[in-house]
Symmetry: C2
Subunit: 672 residues, 2 copies
């Protein structure tokens, strides 16, 4: 154990530096995390993924020794002897033996240009969103956030009417709404600003009022009435809102293990204002929920993880969305969060550790409501934050919200809902019954565990055809209209590409390359790859390729999904063709090539028209909860009606999984 | 305007140093405030009270120039030329012309040994407290805090029962109380600690549960069950509570302009646990509410004032009381605060500025309830903090709570309630009607504006007889049994002393000394004084005396009370002898010599048995609110029934006041 502390400076490619002191024996990855340098480590720093390659610019390193024991720091399958001599190191495996200067290539960062905010012109799921709104309308769940904007012209105080400010305001609201004064509350935060707000508005105000249980009202915002003709010089009680901007806004938040997505809503109309997404900052502690839970148990880990998702992702996203929309975050009066069980715990700062210890018990299942101030969110302090309920350790609020947006709970005949996130979750049922299960598919569908994998953002190959003769690809790139070149493969692109490689006989049923050509290469270890874009054609000057290792990882992911579907149908004793419709959700691109997905054995062979891609159903469910009190109640009631099936307790599951780890399956007849 | 910043070190007599940089032109008093040195300045730093005398140890001073303009820094009526040469300065009137070292005498500090915590052996108002409890019992308002302690032995999770922790706990509470699970809530703070608390308690827990509106329940605390026989090694979910200590505690808080008092309650029994008091830290910004309001308008002033009362007084008091009682502040689940209107605003951080601007409108009147976390109080974050309602700019929650503890609102014939605080407030009425008014008596009754004035704590002269022949005093000193020597005069001592000086013909009806002797001296300006204790007999080696200036100040205070009583009776057209009983409240000592008070013209001449001293009625009312939900509701309903009379709008009031500024009155027949 080294007993000295060294200083490490991280030099980020493309600009930026960060410094940290390394604890004795600590890996560079550990030091980088403390310096908030988000070096990618999907394997959680176990030395098994090779994503955390950095380059030593000066100083000396040795093998790291941390709480997991000694891990080798020399050349390996991820760092060749030549590269080692050239300074390349795996950040997880080495420690400082002197002060260091370390170069961090852009490729080693977990996310770049992290926050992405879109106006609706480029929102890719508008049609799905419009369908959901129509269905909600039809069910009587239309825009119903329980919030009103009331305009009041109050008489200013005078010696004949020395009523206090709060009582004056409440008197006005009472008269406007016909609600008794005793039923109207003013939170402390509003009260503190009230004397100034009323006077700066010349007592002509626009109030945001929430209806609460039993018809009570709560005044959450007091702004100068922009329509009043009072000559007020400095409307400082205003919040810099642009004319015409939403007066009451809502947020739908989907917290995925890999990606955080958000939607800003005009709560007066139910319309979307803008959307945004960012990589979940927790990814530097590992790609999957297990590595996050392990980190949460370390000293200060829970706070670090909470900050990595809230402080680094949701907070800047809220600010970006509001800035773009020209509204103050104080105008956000209602929000809903949908996330898997672990992410829900971490976002709320609740210890998730028993989720990974037998008997796998979460701290809570229930849907929760709390004021924004309790979470320190950049929204109105009194905003109601709704958290979608979980029903099991691995079936969380993302699924209960997603089932709402799939609407399978309304159908008379049973349908299947499949969410392709970092895990795969399935719900099967109808208005009569609902069963769910989860399978550990891994992050392949979101671009994780894939050497050139990426999220479905600009530069991602989202669809691909291959000419069977020439083996040349014809790829669709997100953002190509704006001149974006290929940068990697997102989930839908992966499915397409593997389907095409298999269809063209370029890979065999075990996922190995069996043809040669200018697009197919093998490295010095004999690992084959298909080059979708040559280095000179790409954004970063680095080829976009799919390797046999990637295909292996993907096959395990799709095999997990397929075997889960088979096992669940067997448990509830339904044949595959009893499935009325299949709703496929997940943020995997513009959609999914169902034909390809069936061809490679990911989904059962059913008529194509039974499949419906419903996009990010978790975020859409969060939208429903944020915009409608009745929809939020319905999500709670759906969650109460879902029965959770534990796949691992069914002996046949492992055999099904092994059989499904082929293209398409050991029993190819299932797909004919 | 000086343009240089100097460093000032304050050397506190008896130990302690504090440093500050003085802004150009800033007074030493201003710099001392920023250094948290509580130099006394009842006049608010206007150079008119002479209390802020400090002594220059090194460096040079000049006249201060601040936002109130230039104020002289040379010799004055408070600093003789000899004293000036000796380094004495008024901190409010001088600024630094070089780096300084400044000695701060103990006498110049607004408070010393600030926090005082008593167990009940020395609590001086136990009889009054016992009477109140008896009356509350009789009214059906006995101990009713809406809190229960439930002991539960839960079955630990196992694979056959993987219910989440929260749901497991709620299931247990539901079974124990017969309340549906959906009606039972768990706050986020409790949820965050729940997984650990349950396991460290071996799932045998003691829960604190609050009953809320509509019979809902909220679980506020989860502790290991001390009675359980589970072998738990580290009961870290416990809170270090001593065996036998209260399991659920409450607080009654009285925030006076001068003094903050507090009472810790065992909410299971309604018994007092201990009491404490401290000087209101805001006193360094001035003795009365007007100077505080002026300070609140300055940049950052509101935060400074809020911190001076909360951070410096209530927080350390809570910690001291809990420490003495051997309980964690987290066990405080309910508290009530009674304070005058300005103090209520400042404690909540609500701007009070319009209280001193026509038409004198507060930000709010209503009684409020909020969780402890919203105020950052060292109590359970979910504790309900109740704020007593105000009914006017100068009739606050101290009075509505006080009227409750006087019980005049239950009587069939009208009685008078008089609160002698920094202001004097009166309420007159019965079960039929209640009228109130306020008069600006000044802080004399609490020892302010009196050269040797002090609060009713150890060393205070609280009663006094004078031998008419020898003029020698026979004084009762608080704490004399414990060997405390005289240190100053508290309110009850003042009334006694002035009554005796007048009775013995030592002062005349204008408050001027008309006899000579070893106890009566005149200074070089001709100002007479009566020496109650010679320097060598006192705690600090400095004589305890009453000057003609003090008597003037006191006469104005008692004149304000008497003229307010007369004016209010005239307004409601009642003769003085219609008063059934008079309840005198205020923290002015062990009681009040009513005979003396009548003799000097403070109270109307009524049979002595009609007068009742009810002590700190504001704190007792806060006790009632904290210990009983029904009592809290009754305070709200009392507040709603009081009619406020604005004395200043009655033309006769000023004449009454002038007539009452004599001993006993210009119309002495009123007291014969």
């Amino acid at each position: 154990m080294a007993d000295k502390t060294f200083n490490i400076v991280f030099e980020i490619e493309g600009g930026g530096e960060a410094a940290a002191s390394a604890f004795p024996g600590e890996s560079l990855l550990g030091a980088a995390r403390r310096a908030n340098v988000a070096i990618d480590a999907p394997c959680g720093g176990n030395g098994t993924c090779g994503k955390c390659r950095v380059r030593l610019l000066s100083g000396e390193t040795g093998a790291a020794e941390d709480d997991r024991g000694r891990i080798g720091g020399g050349p390996s399958r991820f760092v060749s002897p030549e590269e080692y001599a050239d300074g390349f190191r795996m950040a997880c495996s080495v420690r400082a033996l002197s002060d260091l200067r370390v170069g961090v290539p852009r490729g080693a960062l977990a996310y770049r240009n992290n926050i992405k905010v879109s106006d609706l012109g480029v929102f890719r799921e508008q049609r799905i969103f419009a369908d959901l709104r129509r269905e909600m309308e039809a069910l009587g769940l239309g825009n119903d956030p329980g919030l009103e904007v009331i305009r009041l012209r109050l008489s200013p105080p005078d010696p004949g009417d020395p009523t206090a400010d709060r009582e004056r305001l409440v008197r006005g609201i009472s008269a406007a709404l016909g609600v008794p004064e005793a039923e109207i509350g003013v939170p402390l935060g509003v009260l503190r600003r009230l004397p100034r707000a009323l006077r700066e508005a010349g007592f002509s105000v626009e109030c945001v009022v929430r209806e609460e249980a039993g018809g009570k009202r709560r005044i959450l915002g007091v702004y100068p009435d922009p329509g009043a003709d009072t000559a007020v010089e400095t409307p400082a009680a205003g919040d810099g809102a642009q004319p015409g901007a939403a007066r009451i806004a809502g947020l739908a938040i989907d917290i995925g293990t890999t990606t955080v997505s958000m939607l800003l809503i005009d709560l007066e109309t139910g319309n979307m204002i803008s959307t945004g997404s960012a990589g979940n900052g927790q990814i530097r502690y590992g790609a999957d929920v297990i590595t996050r839970i392990i980190e949460s148990v370390r000293p200060g880990g829970l706070d670090r993880l909470r900050d990595a998702v809230a402080g680094e992702c949701t907070e800047p996203l809220i600010r970006s969305l509001c800035e773009k929309a020209g509204i103050s975050p104080d105008r956000i009066y209602r929000a809903a969060v949908a996330a898997n069980t672990t992410m829900t715990h971490l976002f709320l700062g609740v210890p998730p550790e028993h989720l990974r210890l037998e008997p796998y018990v979460p701290a809570f299942f229930e849907g929760r409501t709390m004021p924004g101030k309790d979470l320190g969110m950049s929204v109105n302090p009194e905003a109601e934050i709704l958290i979608a309920p979980s029903i099991g350790s691995y079936v969380g609020g993302d699924i209960t919200a997603g089932v709402f947006s799939s609407m399978i709970f309304r159908k008379e005949t049973p349908s299947l809902f499949v969410d392709l996130g970092t895990n795969g979750e399935l719900v099967f049922g109808s208005a009569e019954f609902l069963f769910s299960c989860a399978c550990s598919a891994g992050p392949a569908f979101e671009g994780g565990d894939i050497s050139c994998g990426m999220r479905a953002t600009d530069g991602a190959v989202e669809a691909c055809r291959i000419d069977a003769d020439t083996m040349e690809p014809d790829a669709v790139i997100i953002g190509s209209a704006a001149g974006r070149k290929p940068a990697g493969l997102c989930g839908s692109g992966l499915i397409d590409l593997i389907g095409e490689l298999f269809r063209c006989g370029i890979v065999n049923s075990r996922g190995k390359f069996v043809r040669e050509g200018r697009r197919v290469k093998h490295d010095e270890y004999g690992v084959g790859r298909y080059i979708a874009a040559f280095a000179e054609e790409t954004e970063a000057g680095r080829e976009v390729a799919l390797t046999e290792t990637d295909i292996d990882n993907f096959i395990r992911a799709k095999g997990a999904i397929f075997s889960a579907i088979r096992t669940m149908l067997a448990i509830v004793e339904y044949p595959p063709d009893a499935i009325e419709d299949v709703y496929v959700a997940g943020g995997i691109g513009s959609g999914i090539n169902i034909g390809a997905a069936i061809r490679i054995g990911m989904f059962p062979k059913l008529p194509l028209e039974k499949f419906h891609y419903i996009g990010n159903s978790s975020m859409l469910g969060a939208y429903a909860m944020a915009s409608s009190r009745k929809a939020a109640e319905m999500v709670t009631s759906i969650a109460g009606g879902i029965t959770y099936l534990e796949l691992s307790s069914y002996p046949g599951y492992m055999d099904e999984f092994v059989a499904a780890c082929f293209l398409p399956h050991t029993d190819a007849s299932l797909f004919q």
